[in-house]
Amino acid sequence: MMTLSLEDKKTIQLDRMRYTKNTFSSSMVYLAILFNVLYFVSIYESDVGSWYYAWIIGVSIVYNLVFMLISFLCSEGVKNYKLGYGYLLLGLGVGQIVRMFILPAMAHAAVTKRVIEKKAVEVPVMETPQYVLTIVLLALSAACCFAAGLVAVKRSRTLAAYNASLVEKA
């Protein structure tokens, strides 16, 4: 049984990064994409149709596609310790937070008329439970992006510094 000192472990952990991928960050990005998909699907659970068909639908759909494409690209980038993709993920995380205040908040604040017991009644386009759900999903997606981004930036910098020290030694 091989035993390693603490110093050894630290050095080996650094050295391991040269040959292993940053799977934590890339997995977190996949999770962020998953939460984003769930968010997008959950939007349609209520009757947003009467209110939703506006210019905002186009922007929303295009942004979803762009988010998924870029975040997938980032997952590959951070897997290989590319620093730039870490920062991009932090930006995407901010974007997810901003989105909470656009579509879900607007749909929750907006009202639509619905016929209940032969009477026209005004109800929110997005009911509170669904609103909470969409907010939670976006928040989770953002959290995953931040976690992935922060870890990727930290690890990428550490690896770059370690590689530089190896070059110096050589």
Binding site: M2, D8, Q13, Y19
Partner: protein, 357 residues
């Protein structure tokens, strides 16, 4: 490392075909054993039985005195290297080498140390981030060996690991395996049909034919004192020449030549007076300058020596074919006659095919 004892091993498949008959072998700690024989002789089956990839139909297999006949492959502490490398294409070299240890949930830091050490031994340090498809055949085979090394098994098993490599690479990888054995002093079982590999790598060779062990011995023993006609014909390149001869007085009479026996040979063959036997002569044991007439029909210059294929007394029969490996550069033309003599002979009983000793 480990001692292995193979006791009366048989392999009978479900369709009643018997691939291995009564295989017995004691492998000492740190020994390099090569199982050699033609295709279908049962050598790979034997190796797979040792690895636990084939059930043993009868007999016992002991590892360091412990009976592992029915133990599953994963509990045998043996690592096998296959002919087709069996690498995971989607993993890097590092991940391929670390895979078995990762499955065992070993500490990643320890795995890292072991992988780097193995890569250093095999000269793969610069290739660790590459995928197998980016490597040459020789490098892939080294990765397969590295995967075995990191496990630090008691026994290494090689199943024709060099068969997919070209001749030059095969030579280089063969030397690497030899160095690896010296460095690790591990017990190794190696299967090949290539006698050059067997002769250069082995501490002892097990020569097999049709499921039976024909001879076990050092490379020199198999080359110099083959136990029977099969071993004599299989070991050595070009193969040994064989002639049916009859012992008459103090000489052996063949269809196209007579070979005068020495006193020692006469004593050895005293029971064969007037009987037929088989005379074997290695091509490299034939020299120019005797009284045996050979008509040349092809001449292959190898640099240090020349392979001369000819016919005794110009006769075109099976018994008259002869191959001589003559020293130096010879320029015989087809149809030329050359006189040769046999400097060393082997004698075999015609009925049993066993060597006469």
């Amino acid at each position: 490392m480990a001692n292995i004892s193979l006791q009366h091993l048989d392999k009978i498949y479900d369709n009643k075909v018997q691939a291995v008959f009564d295989f017995n072998l004691e492998v000492k700690d740190g020994e390099f054993i090569v199982l050699v024989g033609p295709s279908g002789c049962g050598k790979s089956t034997t190796l797979r039985m040792v690895a636990g990839l084939e059930d043993i139909s009868a007999g016992k297999l002991l590892l360091d005195g412990k009976d592992i006949t029915s133990a599953p492959a994963k509990d045998r502490d043996m690592a096998m290297v296959f002919q087709n490398y069996a690498l995971y294409g989607h993993m890097t070299v590092y991940e391929n080498m670390a895979f078995s240890l990762t499955l065992r949930k070993e500490d990643p830091n320890v795995i890292h140390k072991k992988v780097l050490a193995a890569a250093e031994i095999l000269g793969l340090t610069d290739q660790l981030n590459k995928k197998p498809k980016q490597l040459s055949g020789g490098q892939r085979q080294r990765v397969a060996m590295g995967r075995a090394i990191v496990r630090n098994p008691k026994v290494f098993l090689f199943d024709e690991p060099l068969s997919n490599l070209d001749a030059k690479l095969r030579g280089a990888t063969r030397r690497e395996i030899l160095l690896l054995h010296k460095r690790m002093n591990a017990t190794m079982l190696y299967v090949t049909h290539d006698q050059t590999e067997a002769l250069t790598l082995a501490d002892r060779i097990v020569c097999m034919s049709m499921g039976h062990v024909q001879q076990v011995g050092t490379p020199l023993e198999l080359y110099d004192t083959p136990a029977n006609l099969f071993v004599a014909s299989f070991i050595g390149l070009p193969p040994m020449n064989f002639f049916n001869v009859r012992m008459e007085g103090d000489q052996l009479e063949g269809s196209f030549f007579a070979y005068k026996l020495t006193a020692e040979q006469k004593e050895l063959l005293k029971d064969y007076q007037g009987r037929e036997l088989v005379l074997g002569v290695r091509p490299e044991d034939i020299e120019t300058g005797g009284d045996i007439d050979v008509q040349v029909f092809s001449n292959e210059n190898l640099g240090m020596s020349t392979l001369v294929h000819g016919r005794l007394m110009g006769r075109n029969t099976q018994d008259a074919q002869i191959t001589c490996k003559l020293r130096g550069w010879c320029d015989y033309k087809s149809g030329d006659h050359v006189n040769v003599k046999f400097s060393k002979c082997h004698f075999f009983d015609k009925e049993t095919t066993n060597a006469i000793r």
